[in-house]
Subunit: 752 residues, 2 copies
């Protein structure tokens, strides 16, 4: 496929197709789902962070008028302690199922124990208060380092550590220990003139999407189950639900609504199986909604983590060796993003010797879920702070240091592969050239920091169909939840191929029954992979339309060319037909034209970002004010630059939240003290300046238009960039997130 | 394509996929649609059958609290008096638009004039009473023969008769006069030994579906219009709405619900444009529902008609000539099914000389709509009664007469083409062989009649997509409204090709945005054409799955065979993979598999039926009791025999209604006196014996499995068969439908 590099649609900024629905309030979200006979479910959750369930008495709840059913884990198929295949990986069915409704134990405050369906939500809530659960309360373990200790309370009595790929007999809270190794790290440190080693911790942080979780289920008597909900992946829900409910995939239909934010947090199952079994028991559709406290306490935050980082360089500024010990909290069940953190931590650099040890550790907190470049922000906070200290020690400009040591095409990654064509150095150069970086920063207690970040992005599977309308417009049927404007970015790629305007392609997000399989909207894959499928489906349309034009001219298809939506008769140069003209004749040339494509693209292009931030500190209060922020990122090719900029800005803002304010604040008993948006402090527009953006375009050779995927990497650099800026402002190195006023105030005298 | 003739799925009787939803009341129909901010519309209809609108005063209605908008035809784009292209044919935009909301004139009692949207249906109804319409009442014309007279009141002041393909200057109620001619009919009559000529009339009859019409519309501020409704053709609604509303097709999305019967009556527009403009004016979604009286008075019945039939035969029973004068009532606007009636009237017979004159005539009744083999039942009542009288005169058994004169492959039709392979004689032979026909009929006032019927069936356009699920089942996405079990009949054809069970194919009816173009569910086309598309889409799946199997074996696709869902390695006879096994590996062999096909099949196979009926007359009351009924029909190939039988039974029952009871009863002012199911007498299960069925299978060479389409022809023979049975019972020939007790009582003394 040879695409033109002068585009008509790609790179423009049309209004998104779903824009009016969103701004007029017409868009339908999960909580808007209504149907006849709808019951409402509520979930009773554990008040304890760690306890054994002795007994559950639901009799009084069942006797309450209006209560139609009560379910516990006993209503799910047996949660066997075995690994089942799910998509590309394996997962323990017991963990998957027990996180929905607790089995013998509750493992975090908020762990679901019982659910009730009633004629209205108020009755359901009242019923929860009538349920008696007898708990044997156990001591909780809330910190990853505590949990790794030999004498720590055990969450799972038979969790045997998997170490360096081998099963062991050791029972502990450490689910896995994995290692990446490149060269000889000890030799590398011996070659270094400067070696810096530091400890870091990061807090448990929530994705903080505005829309709480929701699910409405109808379990038909014939065993067909339909779920309506907002999710990042309707097919992913379908595939997780099947083993949890013991249903074949094909009996489950998931109908996705619009989604009010996800950031990775709307991939795991929470309410779906509960709504399903309540529906099965009652014969009615059942809707279950979470409130904000439930979202905080019972859905996946990103892990708190502990990291020890050691990096060495020669005095002329050449990196020789890097080592990381990384321990991530998985929450109540194994499965932190430790692997992704390890894949990202040193990847912006060409380092000959690398050793990374990663630990996936269970603690008495909610099971973690993906959160925008999961694991990479924790990692970059640590590594990019040490790199900054190295640069300072060596007396080098941190961007010049990156230009010298930065990864490029052919650089070997610690996890094995070598980089294909990437645009990291181009982001660093763009930062150096930026008006921001070239403008001196003045004033009291001000500082400028920079940091870089890497995210590998994923490809997975996508399917797209394109139906040609009689008026020459087309409908594009995709299966990717649109979170950040992907209806537009996918439609635009099809429009470019078809020679249509963006508005002439009408994108529709179908349910699991209406389109071929599509993996989750996540991993920065949607514009890349579903866009790829749209391109291929558009080519399929052009092939068929070419045949139709040939039929109209009564010539062979090989004698028809198509460019920019115009079909030409090669035999008769003057004869041409527009796409619309051929479309009007489909009925008499063989029927409708439907293009389709399914892809599992291999040529995923990694994403790099470099951020510059200016801060000012109030030494009285420890408050950090962001004065100026510029996010620079390699998009490969920006299909719709406004939405690329939106991702860069949104990611940066979330990173600022991690850096300065956000954390789950737990008491000793493992109870979260700040489970509301009032107390869990996310940045608002009043806390932030405009986030400036610079899009760098180094086309990904693995995509027809060069797309990489832009959604995740912008959250990676901010904490480190801000920590580095704080150091420039007041001379203290911050090693713990969030860098809240109290921590900063505590650090300044420590320096003094 | 060479299909096996021993089928595994086709010809079996699995439970329909939507069965549980239907019997448990879970299926969602148009009236079930709910959404936030929904307004309710009601329509003010003309109390006069013929009047000029002088003025409309809506001010008091608009002042009523809760009323949000009022619309008249002035709110639709100008209804220009010009022919626009719509699908395969042309239609006058003025007629199309003015039937939705009357322009200068109302042309039938019940003609919509004004519509109101209010916060609830009661307020909307109240508002209707506050609207003042000033009418100049005109004399109505209600009978087709009266309407054809020179001095008849004119419905349209500028309707010029189109005669034999030519425009004329003659203004009348006759919209068109068309003619089919074969041989020399006068010469034919001279060669005949017996010539019989008779006059016939049939009444205006309604389809009588249980579910009234409904439409909910949301007109977004960005010009995107969504319609939720029950319809026989979501795309057909979309294409009609576009010119009426002045919107491009691509801005209209039609989401079909389940449908509670249609029979042709849910193809035309009624409420959709009204709901749309009410939504546009209010910014809210608007739902409009009809009540039963509105359905009778304002939606399309089938035409009343007048026919004069003359048929000649030699004394040895050979047909020599046939002539028909046929005048069909179009209702208020041109467009009766006169053409279809002409195509069907003599088509069961091989007659060398035929002359058919057909007239499409406007009268002050609701615009007719298609009704199950539209026009053919009227025609067969006339022709098959004359044939019966000919047989009686010649002393021949009516079935033997048909065997001698019946149409077969190669017989030329009066409308031009010659028959392909058809199964008419096979239905006659099956009738002769039937236990019913061979069992003598005994008792007082009993009689047995037979009649045959023909319907040409249509093909048009269909699209189907098939998505392969990870568990080896598939989802089949179609765009054909499922009225009589076509989810099953389409899915079964795909299952046969794929080597799956019927239950392993999950059929989904998508909306206009979710699937390629599909023509209406009508013309007995769905199992034929959408089934054809399903077969082709399944072959597309097999092609791709074969490539995947080859990839797993690391061989070329040409070295893989597939039969009955098993892929085999030609190189290694022992190596095989089941469809499910390949399906489980799609992620690692190139991504999802989606098959698709669009078809506009040419090889439509005509349908023939022969019915036998035994009746008993009560000479005191004139009541006819159906003692026994056998419907025999060539299905080509019965995909799901139960649903074929269901169509045969349902068609026969509706034909019994035409024959004995059903009619629009008008007073002199053109007001229908029986616009309720209490007074409009449809047969119930208490009125009928079990309808026995005999399926004959003469495969249609134009379809891979031989399907013809079965939905319409069973309504064609009943009135004639019953008339012939009544004659055998009491010796009177009935020439007017319905053959109600009163008419029969009146006829018996006339004979006496």
């Amino acid at each position: 496929m040879a695409e033109s590099t002068t585009y008509k649609v790609i790179g423009t900024r049309p209004i998104r197709h779903d824009g009016v629905d969103k701004v007029t309030g017409r868009a339908i979200y999960g909580a808007d789902v209504q149907m006849a006979g709808l019951l409402h479910g509520k979930v009773l959750r554990s008040p304890h962070a760690h306890a054994r369930i002795r007994s559950i008495d639901v009799s009084r709840a069942l006797a309450l008028p209006g209560v139609k059913a009560v379910v516990t884990s006993a209503d799910l198929p047996p949660a066997e302690d075995r690994v089942i295949q799910l998509g590309e990986g394996g997962v323990n069915l017991k963990y998957l199922s027990n996180n929905i409704l607790a089995g013998e134990k509750v493992l975090y405050k908020g762990h679901p124990v019982v659910a009730v369906a009633a004629t209205n939500p108020h009755v359901a809530e009242e019923a929860l208060e009538l349920i008696r659960v007898d708990y044997e309360v156990l001591p909780p373990v809330l910190d990853v380092r505590e949990a790794m200790k030999d004498n720590a309370p055990l969450l799972h009595e038979n969790l045997k550590t998997k170490s360096l790929g081998q099963e062991t007999d050791k029972v502990s809270n450490i689910a896995t220990h994995t290692q990446f190794k490149l060269g000889d790290v000890e030799k590398g440190f011996r070659e270094a003139d400067v070696v810096i080693e530091r400890d870091f911790t990061t807090a448990t942080v929530h994705q903080g999407y505005i829309e709480p979780h929701n699910a409405t289920a109808m379990w038909n008597p014939d065993g067909q189950l339909t779920i309506w909900e907002s999710t990042q992946g309707a097919f992913t829900v379908q595939r997780q639900l099947a083993p949890v409910l013991g249903l074949p995939v094909s009996q489950i239909r998931v109908i996705p609504s619009e989604i009010g934010g996800g950031f990775g947090g709307k991939i795991n199952l929470y309410l779906e199986p509960i709504a399903a079994v309540l529906s099965k028991k009652t014969g009615h559709p059942v809707k279950v909604l979470m409130n904000r406290a439930e979202v905080f306490e019972s859905t996946g935050p990103t892990p708190g983590s502990y990291m020890r980082i050691k990096i060495g360089a020669t005095k002329d500024g050449r990196l020789t060796s890097a080592q990381a010990h990384m321990a991530y909290e998985a929450g109540g069940y194994p499965g932190s993003p430790i692997g992704a953190g390890m894949m990202c931590i040193f990847t912006p650099y060409d380092i000959p010797n690398v050793l990374i040890d990663g630990f996936d550790v269970v603690v008495n907190k909610p099971k973690t879920a993906p959160y925008r470049a999961p694991g990479a922000t924790n990692a970059a906070f640590a590594s990019e702070t040490v790199i900054d200290e190295l640069c300072e020690t060596l007396g080098m400009d941190p961007l010049q240091f990156r230009l010298r040591n930065g990864a490029k095409e052919g650089t070997r990654r610690a996890d094995g592969p070598t980089h294909a064509r990437i645009g990291y150095l181009e982001t660093v150069q763009a930062a150096l050239n930026s008006e921001h970086y070239r403008t001196p920063l003045e004033g009291p207690h001000v500082g400028r920091g920079v940091a870089s970040g890497y995210w590998f992005n994923v490809g997975l599977q996508s399917s797209v169909s394109i139906n040609v309308n009689a008026d020459g417009t087309v409908t594009l049927v995709e299966g990717s939840t649109d979170i950040g404007g992907t209806r537009a970015s996918i439609a635009m790629q099809a429009a470019e191929v078809l020679g249509l305007k963006a508005e002439e392609v009408r994108p529709i997000v179908a349910d699991t029954a209406g389109v071929g399989y599509n993996d989750v909207t996540g991993g920065s894959r949607t514009t890349f992979a579903s866009g790829y499928a749209a391109i291929e489906a558009a080519h399929d349309v052009i092939r068929q339309m070419t045949e139709r034009a040939a039929r109209l001219w009564k010539i062979e298809a090989q004698d028809v060319t198509c460019a920019e939506g115009i079909f030409r008769n090669k035999q008769d140069g003057g004869q041409s037909l527009a796409f619309k003209e051929v479309a009007a004749q489909l009925g008499r040339t063989g029927g409708p034209v439907v293009g389709r494509a399914s892809v599992a693209p291999r040529g995923v292009g990694g994403a790099y970002a470099t951020h510059i931030v200016d801060v000012q500190l109030d030494p009285e209060t420890g408050k950090v004010t962001i004065l100026r922020y510029t996010a620079i990122q390699d998009a490969g090719k920006a299909i719709h630059p406004s939405y690329v900029e939106g991702q860069m800005q949104g990611g940066a803002v979330q990173g600022v939240g991690w850096a300065l304010n956000e954390e789950y604040f737990y008491n000793d008993q493992g109870v979260m003290s700040n489970a509301s948006f009032l107390d869990y402090r996310m940045p608002t527009s009043l806390d932030l300046p405009m986030i400036d953006t610079i899009i760098v375009e180094v086309p990904n050779p693995g995509h027809p238009f060069g797309v990489r995927g832009v959604g995740e990497v912008p959250i990676v650099p901010p904490p480190a960039a801000i920590a580095n800026a704080i150091y420039r402002a007041v001379g203290v190195r911050m090693h713990h997130l969030p860098m809240s006023p109290g921590r900063i105030l505590a650090a300044i005298p420590a320096k003094g």
